[in-house]
C-alpha cells in the first residue's frame, strides 16, 4: 500500500514496516541534490520530528518522520550519489525503512489521489 504526507514523503507499507522516500514533486522542487544525511539504524523517530537532511546547491531542507517508529535500514546509495533522488525519487532512491510503533496510524495518511489534489 502506498501512502503520502503533506510534507511530500511517500511510504510503501509492508506489514509493520514502511519504506520512506520523498515524492517526485518534492525532488523537482528541491532541484539537484548534492548532500544527504540519513538517520542512524536503530534511531527512534517521532512523527513530524527531523529524520533526514537533504541539501541542494541552493539550500538545506529537513525530511520529517511521517510516523513514530524505529529505523531498521537506510539507503547508503543515495548518500553516495544524491543525484539518484532526482532521477528515481519514488523508486531506487528510498531514504530509510521504519518499523512502525502503531501500524494503524498509517491509515490516517494521504492516499495517492489525495496527495495529487494537494500538490495540484
Amino acid at each position: 500500500m502506498l501512502k503520502f504526507t503533506a510534507e511530500h514523503e511517500w511510504l510503501k507499507l509492508e506489514g509493520d514496516v514502511a519504506t520512506v522516500g520523498i515524492t517526485t514533486h518534492a525532488a523537482e522542487q528541491l532541484g539537484d541534490l548534492v548532500f544527504i544525511e540519513l538517520p542512524e539504524v536503530g534511531a527512534e523517530l517521532t512523527k513530524d520530528g527531523n529524520a533526514a537532511t537533504v541539501e541542494s546547491v541552493k539550500a538545506a531542507s529537513d525530511v520529517y518522520a511521517p510516523l513514530d517508529g524505529e529505523v531498521t535500514e537506510v539507503n547508503q546509495a543515495i548518500v553516495d550519489d544524491p543525484s539518484l533522488v532526482n532521477s528515481d525519487p519514488q523508486g531506487a532512491a528510498w531514504f530509510f525503512k521504519l518499523k512502525l510503533k502503531n501500524p494503524s496510524d498509517a491509515d490516517a495518511l494521504l492516499d495517492e489521489s489525495a496527495y495529487k489534489d494537494l500538490i495540484g
Partner: protein, 376 residues
Amino acid sequence: MDHSPTLKQTPLHALHLSLGAKMVPFAGYDMPVQYPMGVMKEHLQTRAAAGLFDVSHMGQVIVLGASYEDAARALETLVPVDVLGLKPGRQRYGFFTAENGGILDDLMITNRGGHLLVVVNAACKEQDVAHMKAHLAGCEVTLLEDRALLALQGPAAERVLASLWAAAAEMKFMDVRDAFIRGADCIISRSGYSGEDGFEISVPADKAEELAKVLLAHPECEPIGLGARDSLRLEAGLCLYGNDIDTTTTPVEASLEWAMQKVRRPGGERAGGYPGAGRIAEDFATGPVRRRIGLKPEGKAPVRAHAVLYAEDSPESPIGEVTSGTFGPTVEGPVAMGYVPASLAEPGTRVFAELRGKYLPLTVTALPFIKPTYKR
C-alpha cells in the same frame, strides 16, 4: 506565478517564462533562479561551453562631467580606486566606501571617452544614484532605464559572440567597445562574474529579447539562472554584496586591497580623499583585524552563510562567520568563504563550523577555488 505584483520585470521576463524558468524574487525583480536544465548542469555548461545570464536588474549609470577628467576626479572622492588613470575603452572594479571604512556597494567603472559608465548592484542602485547625485559636484548622473544587460560567460563565449560580431575576438579582459549587432547599439565589455572568460552586453531594452534569442540559438550557448550564477562566482572567489561585503567590512578586511591601485593607497599620489580613508589607511598600516578567506569544508556537507566559525570543535571559541557557502559543481564539493581573525587567515589553517549541532572541520584555502580563464 504567485509573486507580489510589485516585483519589477526585466526586458527578458517573457523570454524566461517561455524557456520554462523557475522565477524567484531577487532585489525587487522577478528573476530566473534556474531553467529546466537545473543549477548543477547550468553551472557546468558555463564552465564547459557558454551560458547567457540576464543581469538587467543591475543599474547602468552614466556619470557626465565637463570632461572625463572632471567626472573621474569627482568619482575618486567616493571610490578609492584609480578612475583618472583608466584609459578610454577600459573598465575596472571598485567600491563605494562609507565614513566608517565599510563598503556601500561594489561596482564596475568604465571610461567611455567623454563620460563614465558605472554598473552597480540591483539592490543598491537607487541608493547609489542618490549618493552620486549628492556628492559628484558638477556631474550629471543618469540611471539608464531603457537598457538591458546580458552576460555571456564561458570558454565558448568568444565563439558565440563572434558569430554575430567578429571584433569580439580582438577584445581583451576589461576592454569595452561599442558594437552594432542585429540592428542594436550595444556596449560590450569583456568581463563578467563567473571566473570564466566572457562578455557583458548592454543592449537597448526593446532589442534585448531578439539578441538573447540569437545568442541562445548558438549550439554552444544555454540560458543560466541566478542559482548557477551564485555557485560560479563563489568558486571564482568573487564577493556578493550584502553577503561577503557590506557596511561592516572594510576593503582590506575583505581582501580587496588589490582593487586599490598604488596611486590611491596610503603614500600614493592621490591617497585618501574618499569616505573612511582614515580607517582604511589604518588597516593598511597595521594589518586588518580580520580577513575574508576561502574555506573548504572537509566531507560533503555544504556549510552555508551565517554558520558560526570556531577555532576548536567546541562552542567556547567562536572566531567568525561564513558569509557565502554552497556546493561547487566544478570543485565537486562544498566551497565557502567567510571572515576569520588575521592570525587564522593563513591557507592550510583548520577551523570548524557548527552545522546541525556538529562541528565540521574546514581548511582555510586561497581564493579562487578554480583557475579563472580571463583573456588578459
